[in-house]
Symmetry: D2
Subunit: 175 residues, 4 copies
């Protein structure tokens, strides 16, 4: 199973990335799968470059994934321009066949609706299937990250249905 | 498999209903399943009544469905107040466990984004899984209904995945 | 100056109404203007009735207003079906020429974006000018209502510009 | 009066720019005002650079404007990442005091709702007043540009109210 994590934070190694990785860890046994993390902070200088072999390669890897976690901090009540710039490089429907999970982080609850009203429609427009709720995480709650992720997975695992491999029960049973 | 169709048109037996029923016909062999059509035009006088045994019963039937097609004409760029009034009667997360497909009809392409930016988030808020694209249908194209529905089903069947019964291949093969 | 307040709460005399009335009190000296309150809880049984002289009359009064405060509790992350049902009765662009202020109330900050992403576009679609920010009010803060309204008015008065009568400075100076 | 036009098209000298400039020409006599065009295609390499004196200077100029026309082609049903990247550089409420007009261009009517549901809330979040309807322009209608802009200005001039200078009547009278 191929999994990609796209992190739209202009700062590398962000909490947004930690949260997205934590989510994937709860869904599958990462060691047994092919997980690619695209931390866009490392590629910001190329986002508007045409052509860019570096970004084309990343784009292909993501598009071939079975599961894509798309994570962004909240900037102006929605996802970042960095994330949008990366996704804008795709042609229409380029993510068809993939399942995507929208994840956004924010300083408080004010922008809780951001992932469902902004990021989700963007992923649907790109052709991805978005069967679960979004995950919105308040960054001041990092000490409760495990608990929040466990709750999200419990509530949304069934919606991911056949996407997850048969070992998914084991992956979480080990926790 | 239990299937519900909610039709939010204040006029009964609308084209919106025809389209929603046509979609279900393409997804399953309706004769072999338990299909309930809730044409809200028939219940408009009860929408804001508390309590209403009639509406509570309808609400229960819909919430117990495996698949819910939620269809509305476009009023003011979004779903109708009639549909929202019906869905407002549910408690949070009441549709958890169901898969929902948002369907909207409009006079032209102007409000094509309506189902994805308005109806989809509403169904997600209610706890439903919305794994497919929405279907937006321009009512002046009724003569092309079969073609449009066939295209939609071809593009979205895989996202419905395990929701559909094993006979789904046969259901469409017969067409 | 004609002012209307539409309250979309199915329960009459709601906090949502109190908040909307408090906002108008801060914008103008209500005693000197023609203020109509349409508490939709009092008309719920007529919302889907055609024709309805009662609702047509209310609709005309609102449409002739210079300023319309449109207030709704948050149901399923957006405005109520009761409010939408009332507004659905209008033809396209029926509120052209009026300035509208979107107001929503909620139990916590989770749905803060509701008025800006859902109610505002609805009012724009109806032809109203929506020059200010929306007001989202957390109902557990009723003891801080005066403070919140004063802050909102201070931040948004200039955007209302020429809409308010020349006495508006006096109206607030008296507080 | 200070006016800024922000063009979010990654290609310079785009039709999107032409349309935005045409709109400003209809609203004021450009020769008598201070009009700045920020064609983001010319600054794409700096969008994610920190610090960037070039972008800070542009940002200041825009934020000091009385009127800002924000124009973007439609990418994935919404504004471009290039535009969002530029606007992300602002602090919250940085455009307070300015009036903004959302403009989007698209290949057909499919994404007509884009400016009202996506670009408008972004500008409101930045603190701008957005009193008019958005302008969505189908680029295959470039031969009808004058007509479309004239209609838009006729319908929205009153909502711009006191923003426009007293000579605005003359500006349009000359056409």
């Amino acid at each position: 199973m191929k999994i990609s994590i796209i992190v739209g934070n202009p700062k590398p190694a962000s909490r947004t990335r930690t949260i997205a990785e934590g989510l994937v860890d709860r869904l599958v046994d990462a060691a047994e799968h092919d997980v690619t993390v695209v931390d866009l902070a490392d590629h910001a200088g190329q986002i508007f470059a045409w052509p860019s072999e570096e970004l084309s390669e990343l784009g292909r890897t993501v598009a071939e994934s079975d599961l894509i976690v798309v994570a962004s901090p909240t900037y102006k009540a929605t996802y970042t321009g960095l994330l949008k710039g990366f996704l804008d490089r795709y042609a229409a429907d380029a993510l068809h066949g993939a399942v995507a999970i929208p994840v956004m982080t924010g300083a408080d609850l004010t922008h809780s609706m951001g992932p469902d009203v902004n990021l989700r429609p963007l992923l649907v427009e790109l052709g991805a299937s978005v069967p679960t709720r979004s995950l919105y995480f308040v960054t001041s709650h990092m000490d409760r990250l495990d608990e929040v992720l466990d709750e999200w997975v419990a509530a949304n695992r069934s919606a991911l249905g056949g996407v997850l491999p048969a070992d998914r029960g084991l992956a979480s049973a080990g926790r």
